[in-house]
Amino acid sequence: MKAHIALLVAAGLVAVGCSKNNDVQEVSPLVLETLDGELDAGPDAQASAYVGLAVLDAGAEEAPAPPAPEDFEESAERDITSDTLEAELKVLESELSSSVPAG
């Protein structure tokens, strides 16, 4: 009986320990995709999301994992299709422009 109770308590402690020991060190693309649906700050909200998570992780000794192009591949595939290709390229060309905006 005592052994059973001890086992039960141990299982509970392990579960609580696991749930507390999961500080976000690297943001998985899966999490990012989930976040993406909730962000509403503009075309580069996803990029800003990474900066935000970096701030959450500021206590880590090593610098947190920087964002990589692979993190954005899934959303690129979703957003850019043969129908939206021209429009998406124009947006990027415009973002890269340094000319004075018209008007």
């Binding site: 009986m1 059973h4 086992l7 039960l8 299982a11 509970g12 392990v14 579960a15 609580v16 696991c18 749930s19 999961n22 976000v24 690297e26 693309p29 989930t34 976040l35 909730e38 962000l39 700050a41 503009g42 580069d44 996803q46 990029a47 800003s48 999301a49 990474y50 900066v51 935000g52 970096a54 701030v55 959450l56 500021a58 610098a63 947190p64 994992a65 920087p66 964002p67 990589a68 192009p69 692979e70 993190d71 954005f72 591949e73 959303s75 690129a76 595939e77 850019i80 043969s82 290709l85 021209e86 990027l92 060309e93 973002e95 890269l96 422009s97 340094s98 000319s99 004075v100 905006p101």
Partner: protein
């Protein structure tokens, strides 16, 4: 009695494990709300027209730029003519011959470093035009060499793209680890920790991922002009990123 207790113990363990996975799932909305707040307020500088003659206008491009932004250039405060979330335009005072540009706002904890302003040289326009033409020629030549290796028909090229993208999905985690290892090898920890450098890396990563997707699509559709435009945009983005990171590294090292 003993059997009943074993059943209870079994279900208790299941509940404990379930609470563990629920705690992990809960983190997503919690992080999302914090990230959303941060992303709404955090401005990111993309680039600016740094070679402009005194008296002319400078364009600063970025995201989430504050609506009450003020510019300080070489120690002189200037009110911008245009303040938009993605664009700030201001006029360089005639007395300024170069120096650092900062974007200031009461909503910011500290001035946001834009970059170093250098007066435009006499040959600037000619150099810019030559660079533009050179980039186009290089992209055109590269596409001419690449094109015969892709399938002859559009269906063949699209099939090849599908296979390639499936492969990319499969090895994404490994490629991501390699990219991050590359960043860590290249940039010091204090650079990788700085919010503005991380913002720049995120911006560049996102743009490059989108440009690569555009390139694969344009190639499979056989749209020559678009392939070249994407290639030119990639070259511009790489150059912009190199310049921005170099400027940020210098600024982070000296503060």
């Amino acid at each position: 009695m003993k059997r009943t207790f074993h059943i209870v113990l079994f279900f208790a363990t299941l509940v404990a494990l379930a609470s563990h996975s629920t705690a992990q799932e809960r983190r997503v909305p919690d992080s999302a709300s914090m990230v959303r707040d941060y992303s709404q307020s955090d401005p990111v500088i993309s680039h600016f027209a740094h070679q402009v003659a005194a008296g002319n206008k400078v364009v600063v491009r970025g995201f989430n730029l504050p609506g009450d932004a003020m510019i300080r250039i070489d120690g002189i405060d200037v009110a911008p003519e245009i303040r938009e979330p993605s664009t700030v335009v201001f006029q360089v005072p005639p007395s300024v011959q170069g120096g650092p540009i900062f974007l200031r706002s009461p909503s910011l904890d500290r001035p946001l470093y834009v970059g170093e302003f250098t007066p435009r040289s006499d040959t600037w326009q000619a150099e810019t035009n030559a660079l533009r033409r050179r980039r186009w020629r290089v992209a055109e030549r590269a596409w001419r060499q690449r094109k015969p290796n892709l399938g002859r028909s559009r269906a063949q090229r699209e099939t090849a793209r599908g296979i390639r993208e499936d492969e990319m999905r499969r090895n994404r985690a490994e490629r991501r680890r390699n990219s991050i290892a590359g960043y860590r090898a290249r940039w010091q920890t204090n650079v990788l920790r700085a919010p503005e450098a991380r913002a720049e890396l995120a911006l560049h990563s996102r743009r490059m991922a989108r440009l690569w997707r555009m390139l694969r699509l344009a190639e499979s559709l056989g749209r020559d002009n678009m392939v070249i435009r994407v290639d030119v945009a990639m070259a511009r983005e790489r150059q912009r990123h190199r310049g921005r990171m170099a400027a940020l590294r210098t600024r982070i090292a000296t503060r």
